[in-house]
Symmetry: D2
């Protein structure tokens, strides 16, 4: 499922190599776009490409250059107002719905700023004391690379012309998927959260114990073909399988299919393309994922079940299950890289969680209400960015991300 482009890149190596590669990747993703393409904003939830390129640059200038390079002068005094996202500690900022009004500065001017800031970062890259902040900056920019891709997809979708930002890859002949094999887990006490090796966001810790009942996860994601069966069976009109909020959303918005579906096609970064029934379904909301699982006689996994199973399938992750058996033979198949996978877990702090001090402490903690956790990674996630403890989160009605689902059941 190569709808998006970040996934084909794998960013590894030393921190300074990864810094440079990450900066370059952002620019490469925007390369097929005109200044106008990079300016438009299709909804409040999304941001223009140009804004993502600038905001990630603001991050480096604000938290690294300004604070750690003596006498550093801001590139433009008034740009922080434009490109701060939500950091209250960093002052007032442009209202989010107005980001699409920034025809100025131009894309070329933003890229010029990027070049300057990337270069200005050089002396800081070898400072071990700054490594944690630089790792955060890299991870932050990688997150915006994924958002850049999902946001521009939504923007291009608005046009009845069905514009493409790159050629469709040669047709991939996907084999029919097999029936689901259930990966059983015996339950017990699992260690959840990041184990401290390598970078992680603050919301992935502290690592702690969670008691699991026996359960099983599907060995693969739900496919477009299976989703079509749900539609054909009247799934969107059958109130009995929906959460109350989900049913209200379906009624109010007139929902009857995943976002971007149109007859046998779906909208991609290469415009309208035939939909492959064997590919994982994507661009669904939590409400839809939950309804499908109910219809299928299954349920969504908790984020802890997901992580515990992902650890078994990712022996390098360094996580340990308490009393669990050896990794399953089917390995980590599709745990990472196709779609973010909905869990039924609300996005809440782990025991003893404390946000970091200062503005960067606004990164995660303040969003811990009303959202649901998604695990894994998508085709738009840069390789190397994902890990078993990674917690993504969105509101239950949102579906412009590459979201899918893996079924779970009680064992």
């Amino acid at each position: 499922m190569s709808q998006a482009g970040a996934a084909s890149h794998c960013i590894t190596g030393e921190i300074n190599d990864r810094f440079v590669a990450t900066r370059a990747l952002s620019e490469a993703l925007a390369a097929p776009l005109s200044d106008a393409d990079a300016t438009i904003q299709s909804m409040d939830d999304a941001s223009p490409t140009k804004w993502h390129l600038a905001h990630t640059t603001w991050f480096w200038e604000t938290f690294l250059l300004r604070d750690h390079v003596p006498d550093y002068r801001l590139w433009r005094e008034d740009w922080p107002f434009l490109f701060n996202s939500y950091y209250e500690a960093e002052g007032a900022r442009l209202a989010r719905p107005s980001r699409g009004m920034l025809s100025r500065p131009t894309l070329a001017e933003i890229v010029e700023w990027r070049t300057h800031v990337t270069s200005a970062m050089t002396p800081l890259l070898d400072d071990p004391a700054l490594a944690p902040l630089i790792e955060l900056g890299i991870a932050h920019e990688q997150q915006h690379q994924e958002l850049l891709l999902t946001d521009i997809k939504h923007a291009l979708f608005q046009s009845p012309m069905g514009p493409a930002m790159w050629e469709a890859p040669g047709a991939v002949q996907l084999d029919p998927v097999d029936a689901i094999t259930w990966l059983a887990h015996p339950g017990g006490i699992a260690m959840i959260g990041h184990d401290g090796g390598g970078f992680a966001f603050d919301n992935e810790g502290p690592r702690h114990r969670v008691l699991l009942e026996p359960f099983a996860l599907a060995d693969r994601l739900v496919t477009n073909g299976e989703w079509q069966e749900f539609i054909d069976d009247g799934g969107y009109r059958n109130v009995a399988v929906w959460l109350s909020d989900g049913w209200a959303w379906v009624q109010a918005e007139g929902i009857g299919a995943p976002l971007y579906w149109r007859e046998g096609d779906h909208f991609t970064h290469s415009g309208w393309q035939p939909r492959n029934p064997h590919a994982p379904v994507t661009h669904i909301s939590y409400y839809e994922a939950d309804a499908f699982a109910t219809w299928a006689g299954a349920r969504l996994p908790t984020e802890f079940e997901w992580e515990a199973m992902a650890q078994r399938n990712d022996p390098d992750a360094g996580n340990q299950l308490d009393g669990a058996g050896p990794p399953l033979p089917t390995g980590g198949k599709s745990f990472f890289g196709d779609c973010w996978q909905f869990t039924r877990s609300a996005y809440l702090p782990y025991p003893r969680f404390r946000p970091a001090e200062g503005a960067v402490g606004e990164y995660n903690g303040k969003f811990m209400s009303g959202q649901v956790v998604l695990r894994g990674a998508s085709c738009a996630t840069v390789r190397g960015h994902s890990r078993a403890s990674y917690r993504n989160f969105f509101y239950p009605h949102q579906r412009w991300q590459f979201t899918g689902l893996r079924l779970a059941k009680d064992a």
Copy 2:
């Protein structure tokens, strides 16, 4: 804190006594109200008194009389359309915001229907096979007794006249509260959920194990006086203590105090009355509760922490902590009866939860998204209705219920 009236009633005894007493209490609560009082609806979240009286009667008629009394004829053929709340399996129904348009039927006609239905229930009360459904009906009506009280309070509050539905009780001289004593819990594996003795809602089970880290709960609720300190310290204007959604809510709605506060007074069922600084603060949203806890250097408890501690303070509840020590000397002081207490837990199904078959299965499960769990009971909860495993739930912005908070911290 005797703002409301249900709490002073204690309904116990055999099932038929409790049925009759519950039916009578609903009518007693409405007794101070005119037909017009009982008709008005102040917001979509609330329902008219008359509607509560009728809906609880519809419940008995629909799920007991219609299904279990041979040849039972509905009192009025068209009333189920008016008084079904949200049971999709029971067919179409009046849109919720239109409940306030029902000047007909009159309050007297509803009471006449109530009398008929209460009487018609007599032959069913001794049928052991129906006891679970009757227990559900009693619990259901008790829930609506609390809603009746909170909804009419909100309705009367809309009038600038400050109307009262009963006389203010003689001034209760509350002693100043002591500083918080922290009730420590060693953590470990706790049994959570209803143990099967007596009635419980389906969402209280299945009983299952939860692993807790060591923690401590405050021995009492946060008071009006402490909340005033939060206000005086600029709590409502300090973005740093708010969840992101909470801050957006505060800004959009212009929130600066709990609902019903006005200078030194607060609105009660007896109209505007002086506010007692030593009484628990109430009518706050989840966002406010969370912000206060952050401001106070504490946090909200999880629902599991709350239940585990409540069990220690309620030895009769039949719940057992795995390896926990003896009940704390301070007992269950204020665990039940003042205010519903916010937890930081999202309202989600317990492991292996399955909704009941049929329409009554719509009671709880379909609401398991977007809401937070509150524990305990309030001054408006009928005595005997609450228990340690009870899970109440509301959206994070709602605050017309008697909601308060108890602080928690890591041990």
Copy 3:
């Protein structure tokens, strides 16, 4: 068309007789209603019956008793806040959408106030200096009598029970209407506006000259049967006959028939009743009236054309047409009394119009934007209240009044 009740009353005679009769009529109209009926408010545009009874009483107390009876004490100090409608000069007042929250004071308390105020007015009724203000008060109360009827109709309509406030009159057998006869007018300079004899609102003057081109008016109103033809011909789906704003309204609101239509029935003060095809169509918006006229190859009249023609048919009105011929033989048939008749004229001030000084000057002038003029009178207008110069006005989307149309064409 006896849907409403005010029309059957004719209030004439000396000012004090008319005052007493008007006060009594308001109470008679509310007599079939319970306190709860009189409390509910179905939309922001409408007010509760109780509020109309109180507001008209506030008018007398505020503008007559308070200002002209020495030492008059307000009945309740806080009621003016509740029952002022929109008179900014009279201070703050309850927000309009909250009028439906006034279960207190009760209907009986309002009637008690009414009795007191009616009685207290007695000494003022013979004061010639106050006669203009008293005439205004009578006319004001008569306007609210019509609103009371249209507002309670809309409120009762909200209930799926189809409640009635009085028995349906015995079936009136209406004869089929004849084809339209066009009443021709030669044009010329007409005198428009009230001529100074008897009471008129300030917006009916100053009397002034208007130049008319030759035109013709239909001798009767459009009927339900003709409207059905419009529907059957796809009128509501044919964009070509609609004003742009009207088409947007039809689409947004899903309009496909007059308000209160349901299959062959329509909702009345006597509940759902069969619709008579020969009766004038009513409860239509300006947009609908305009679309019908376009569909019919005709147009709506201007308010000046209407008034000039009404004068010819109302020789007692004292108005004179410049150079016009004798009254037409068909007389004033249906110029007054069935439905208010839409004109294409915007509600604007006449040349040299000046609002009255003080609070009563807020009666008309400040509403002179965005509304359209209706002429005539309806079945809910009290007899004696209407005249050829009378200008009623509503927004183009509103249709809860008894609104209809008479076609016009160029001669």
Copy 4:
């Protein structure tokens, strides 16, 4: 007041010269803008520059080339869907709020289309049978030139950067204005509407008689300095001078000054510039204009008063006043060219008005509800486009056009 650019161009001469010059002017106006500038849309009422360039080209292609050039092939089959504005007869079209999503086609592609269409029009320009339609097309494109300027001004205003699209002209030293001189008119029967010489829109006719009472108009527009006096006198907080709808608008939107005012500056096409107190005030709504006039003890003119006076000051217009005297010595000073001038007249059809047949008949008639008439022309109106009978129209709350006012009074 050279804020905008169209005004400095004067397009005269033969029809083919005017066609070519008009096409060229549209492109010249957009020349300072990037593709991104030309893509953004700041509100539903406004359109992107690119869209104006394309829509005016669609007009020629649809109504001239497609219908009158044998075998003409549309440039792109799917562009009519994008660039039809509101012509229902021409089929479905992109929703107006989505115009800002058209990053494709690019500005360069639109200009290429323009060149093609301009060239393709050559053989039609000499066909006398098409002259009326070509004149309509020229007038249509000129209207969009003004909208292009007002829309891009609003778009650039959204950016906190205060971007400019051209250099500020050298400071113009405006002399202080004199006190208003009142231009008296004796009243009588005036001929209103276009007299048939040269092009006019259908809404300017039919020419007809209107009876005027004696009146006077100010000899100049209200200035920024006078508007500042209104503000300083509390005009925006004084409910007594506002129409009811206007007051509601002021409250809801928090209005306290004309659009684009900020302290002593105002926003222009050259960014933020000092405001000249002697220049006419502009960017006000009808509500503001009416409130100012009331505050000043005057009123707004009717559109008929304005036209009658403009004729006296424009003896070449070919219009004749019935019995009026010679032109006033102060001439047509500022009747055209500074700001569109609000009248108190609603936008309604003249007697015997009939829209044209076919799609072009949707040009004017269907907008004749809810809007007010403005007369004159603005600094953004191309020279040669305005005339005494010209009727512009907007909703009473809109103020992104160059709108101002001239006071009137009864004589």
